[in-house]
Point group: C2
Chain length 531, copies 2
C-alpha cells in the first residue's frame, strides 16, 4: 500500500481536515452551540507512548506472521469510538495487544487459536479496526495472560465470481474498496457501503451485522450473504451456499452478529448486483421534523424501495455546516441497473408533497441533484465526518453518535425521551447545554432507524467519565423506551450492558452454551456479545 | 365451527373432489402417464381403527383441557404427508397420541410441559396439522411413556393492531383465515398465503419458516416477524419488537425453524401490508423450460419484485389438467396497495419477451387475466390440488412433491440430476415409468426454488417402502448436487437425515445444547430438527 494508517484517528496519515475545514468546524460548534476548544493536545506519536513489554512470545512456527512492533501494537489497541479517541489522546495504551498476527490461511488462524489457548491469552479478531463500539479495543480482563490481535487484512481476495447468479466468494479480510475493485471488471457490485467502507471488511460486516448506506431493502449485509465459513477453536463451520432455505434455524443468522466471540469469518458467499445505470435524487425541505418523518413512513410503506429515503434535522445540518438549522432536509433517491426510475420517483415525490415537503433540489432532468443545494452540502459533510473526531477530541469537545430502531407508533415519544435524556445529562455533566441531533439512517415499513448525534463541551481529564455518563443515559433511555441498543453499529464492549438487558435471558444462555462449545477456553474477543 | 375436519385427507369432511373431478384426475394419470388405479380402499372411519388404550392420565388440573376421545387421537396422529396418507388408509394408528390437549393460556402450556416431563411423555406441538414432512406425526421412539399432542387452536386471537406501523400482535394458534378476518376491518393483511393457508397457523409458519404464495420479497414468514414469544420448559423467551436490529445474533432467527423442538410459539408481532388495489397478471408460453427459467432469472435480477414470477413445466400442467404438456407456462404478476403497476409490468414483460416468451394471456386492460387461459386453468388446479391425495392414495397411486433451492449457475445440471434420479428410482421400485415435473415456487436474484412433483404406480401393501425409496433418492440427489433439502416445507421427521447432512456439524451441536437448555427432559417433538 505504501500509506501509513493513522492510529489516532480515521484513515491514512496523509488524510484529514485541512486547517480551513478545522477552523470552520470549530467556528460552527462555537457559534451554533457555544462549544469552544479547551486547549489542544497534540496528536500522539509512537515515541510518546509507553508500552509494557510484550508478555507473549509466539512459537517458532508462528513468528513469521506475528509481530510485537510498537507501531503495530499501538495501531491495533483501539477502534474508532469516542472513548477510544479520548484514551488515544491521553496516551493510554497500557492494554495494547502483546502480539499482532497477520495470518494468511485458515490453518494459521487455527494455530493462533491453539497457541493463544495454551497461553491463557485473549485473541481479538480485527478486520480493519473501524468499530465505534469498542469491538476491537484490546482491553480485556486481568484473567488473561496477554492479548493477541489477529489482523485479517491478508485474507483480501475475491476467490470466485459467479456472473450467472450474480454472486461471489470473498475472503473475510477484504476491505470495501479492495473487494469492489476486484468485482468491477465483472461489472458487478456488492453495493454494501457503510460509512466505514474504506476501513472495514466483509468479515467484520458480517460479524457486526453491518448496515449499508442505502436506506431500504438490500442494504444490510445480513441479506447479502449466501453462506459463511467461520473458523473456531473447535473447528470449521461451513454453511451451504443457497439463495434461500427453510431447513431449520439459519446457521448464517446465528454467526451474523457474533462479533468475533464465536470464531473468525474467513470466507463468505455474497449476493451481487449490477452496476446502477439509472439514478435520480430529490431533496425536500420540511419545517417540521415529524412531518418529514411521516413522509418517510409514507414512502417506506408504499412498496417503492428507494435507494435512499433519509431525513436530517436542522441541528445536524447546522453542526455539519450544511444548512442554517431552520429546516429538516429529506433526500430520496432511486437507482437501478435495469430500468429508468421515473415512475418510482414520481410516486415517492407525491408521498412527500402530501406531507408538506417543499422541493429543495428537483429530480427531473437533473442528473447532478445529489451534488446540489442542501443535498450536496450534506453529502460533502457526510464524507468528511469521520475525520472530525481527531480534531475535536484533542480540543476537549465530545462529539459522538448512537443509533437505534423503533416502530413508527412509538417514534415521536421515543424521540423526545431520548433527546431530552441526552440533553439533560449533557447539561449535568458539562455544566452547559450541548446539542443533540437526529437523522434516519434506514427506513422500514414498520419503523425508522433514528441516528442521533450529540456534541458537548468536555473538560480535559474528565472527558471519558463525561462521555460515559451521557452514553449511559442515552442507552438507558433507548432500552426503557423500546428501541434497540444498536441497529447497525454493533454491541462491542460499549453496548454489552444494555444488550444484555435487551436480549432474552434464555437466548443469552444459549449464546453462552455456543461459546463454550466453539471456544471452550473462552479466548475469543472477551466481553463482547457473550461474556 | 360446526364442521368436522377430515382425518384422512385435506380440509373438512364436506369438502373434496366430486366424482367428475376424481374421474378427470384418474383419466389424466392413466392417459398421460400410464398410471392406473390399483383397486380402491375406502376411506377409514373412526370405528375401523384399533387404538391402544391411552397410557397417560392427565392430573385433575389439566383434565378440562385434555381429551383421549378416539376421534381426537386419530385426527392428531398424522399430518398431510404422502407417508401419512398411506398409513392412514392402512389404518396404522398404533402410535396415535394418548392425550390431546387444548390449552387456552401460556400457563396451561407450561403445566402441560411439567406434566409430560414428569411422565416421561413426548409432547408434540400442533398448529393445524398441515405438515407434509412428518412434523406433527406422533410417532416417537419407545423411550417415551406416551405422547401428548398439544393443539394450539384456542390461541387464535389478533391481540393488538398498530395501523401506524402496520403491524399486529397475534396468537400463535391463529389459522390463516382467522387472522386475516380479524385484520380485514383494519384494511390490513399479513399477505402470507402458503398453500396450506386454511389449515396452518401463525406459530406453525414461524416454527417451520413457511414460504408464502408470492414469489419474491416479503412472502416468507421470516421477513414478516417483528418479535416472538415462545414458551419453553425452561421458561419464556420474549424477543423485543423492532423493525430492525443489529444487536447480536438474532434470537428471532434462532426460534424460526425450530419446529416445536425448542418450545411453543404463543404470540408474534408481525408486519402487515395494505390491501392490494392495483393488480396485473400476464401469462406466457415457452417451448423450452430453460428459456423460461432464464426469463425468471432476468425478472428476478431486474429489481422489480413482482408478486409472482412462476414457471410450470408441461408435465405439471398436464398432470393437473391445465394444458396438453406441449409448453411451459410462465405467470408474472404485480400488485400494490399504493400505485399502478404498469411501469413495473411493462419492464418485466420485456425481460420475458427477450427470452422467447409468447403471450398466452395479455395483461393490458385485462383485470381478469388471472382467470384466463392456462393461467386460470393452473390457478384452478392449484386450489384443488390438496384434495387429490385422498383420492390417489387409496387407489395405489403415489403422488408427492418436494422442493428445494439452488443458485442459478447450478440450476440446469441440478434439475437434470434430480429429475433423472427420481425417474430412475420410480422405474426401479414400481416397474414402470412415472412422471416427474417441476415448477418454481419462489425466485431470488441468485437462484430459484424449484418445486418438483412425482407420480408413480404404487403397489398396494408396498407403497410406503416404494415412496421411501423414491424420496431417499431424490433427497440424496438434492444434497449431492448442492440444493437444500427443504426450501419451505420444513424438516420434520421425513427430512431429518438429509438435514443433518446439510447442516454444519458444529451448528448441530449448538442446537443440541440449546435443546438441553430449553427442554432438558427432551420431551418436545422428538426426532425433529434436534434429535
Amino acid at each position: 500500500m505504501g500509506r501509513t494508517l493513522k492510529f489516532w484517528g480515521w484513515g491514512y496519515e496523509d488524510e484529514g481536515l485541512d486547517t480551513a475545514a478545522t477552523d470552520t468546524l470549530l467556528r460552527t460548534f462555537a457559534d451554533a452551540f457555544g462549544i469552544a476548544p479547551a486547549g489542544e493536545i497534540p496528536a500522539p506519536c509512537v515515541d510518546d507512548i509507553a508500552l509494557a513489554p510484550p508478555r507473549l512470545t509466539p512459537p517458532g512456527s508462528l513468528t513469521s506472521i506475528c509481530t510485537s512492533d510498537p507501531f503495530e501494537r499501538i495501531l491495533h489497541a483501539f477502534g474508532q469510538s469516542q472513548p477510544d479517541s479520548i484514551r488515544i489522546f491521553a496516551r493510554d495504551f497500557a492494554h495494547a495487544p502483546d502480539v499482532v498476527a497477520y495470518p494468511n490461511t485458515e490453518k494459521e488462524i487455527a494455530a493462533l487459536f491453539d497457541w493463544a489457548g495454551s497461553q491463557g491469552a485473549a485473541l481479538i479478531p480485527y478486520g480493519a479496526g473501524s468499530s465505534v463500539v469498542g469491538g476491537v479495543t484490546s482491553d480485556v480482563s486481568d484473567r488473561y495472560k496477554g492479548t493477541v490481535t489477529v489482523d485479517l487484512s491478508r485474507l483480501d481476495k475475491v476467490l470466485e465470481v459467479d456472473p450467472v447468479s450474480r454472486a461471489a466468494l470473498i475472503q473475510g479480510g477484504a476491505r470495501g474498496p479492495e473487494l469492489e475493485a476486484q468485482l468491477k471488471p465483472h461489472r458487478l457490485t456488492l453495493r454494501h457501503f457503510p460509512q466505514s467502507f474504506e476501513h472495514s471488511t466483509l468479515g467484520g460486516w458480517i460479524a457486526t451485522r453491518s448496515g449499508g448506506h442505502f436506506a431500504t431493502l438490500y442494504t444490510h449485509i445480513d441479506d447479502l450473504v449466501e453462506n459463511i465459513t467461520m473458523v473456531t477453536p473447535a473447528g470449521r463451520i461451513v454453511t451451504r451456499r443457497l439463495p434461500g432455505s427453510g431447513a431449520g434455524p439459519s446457521p448464517d443468522r446465528f454467526i451474523m452478529g457474533s462479533e468475533g466471540a464465536l470464531g473468525i469469518i474467513t470466507e463468505a458467499g455474497v449476493r451481487l448486483q449490477g452496476l446502477p445505470i439509472f439514478k435520480a435524487t430529490v431533496g425536500f425541505r420540511f419545517t417540521d421534523f415529524f412531518d418529514a418523518a411521516r413522509a418517510v413512513r409514507a414512502v417506506a410503506q408504499a412498496g417503492l424501495y428507494p435507494a435512499n429515503v433519509r431525513i436530517v434535522d436542522g441541528v445536524e445540518l447546522q453542526a455539519n455546516g450544511a444548512a442554517d438549522g431552520s429546516f429538516t432536509l429529506m433526500v430520496v433517491s432511486f437507482e437501478s441497473a435495469d430500468h429508468p426510475v421515473d415512475s418510482w420517483m414520481a410516486r415517492a415525490e407525491q408521498c412527500c408533497l402530501d406531507h408538506g415537503a417543499k422541493v429543495d433540489v428537483p429530480w427531473r432532468d437533473n442528473p447532478n441533484a445529489h451534488l446540489q443545494g442542501a443535498v450536496g452540502a450534506w453529502r460533502t459533510a457526510f464524507i468528511r465526518m469521520p475525520y472530525n473526531r481527531e480534531q475535536l477530541t484533542p480540543r476537549g469537545i465530545i462529539s459522538d453518535t448512537f443509533e437505534t430502531a423503533v416502530t413508527w407508533d412509538h417514534f415521536e415519544g421515543f424521540y423526545h425521551a431520548i433527546k431530552e435524556a441526552t440533553e439533560t445529562t449533557i447539561r449535568e455533566v458539562t455544566g452547559q447545554a450541548g446539542a443533540v441531533s437526529c437523522r434516519f439512517s434506514h427506513a422500514y415499513p414498520d419503523g425508522p432507524a433514528p441516528y442521533f448525534a450529540f456534541h458537548a463541551q468536555g473538560r480535559p481529564g474528565a472527558m471519558l467519565q463525561q462521555w460515559q455518563a451521557i452514553k449511559a443515559t442515552a442507552s438507558d433511555a433507548i432500552i426503557a423506551n423500546g428501541g434497540t441498543v444498536t441497529h447497525h453499529h454493533a454491541v462491542g464492549r460499549d453496548h454489552q450492558k444494555w444488550y444484555e438487558m435487551q436480549r432474552p435471558a434464555l437466548f443469552g444462555e444459549i449464546l453462552g452454551d455456543a461459546k463454550r462449545r466453539l471456544d471452550p477456553k473462552g479466548i475469543l474477543n472477551p466481553g463482547v456479545v457473550v461474556r
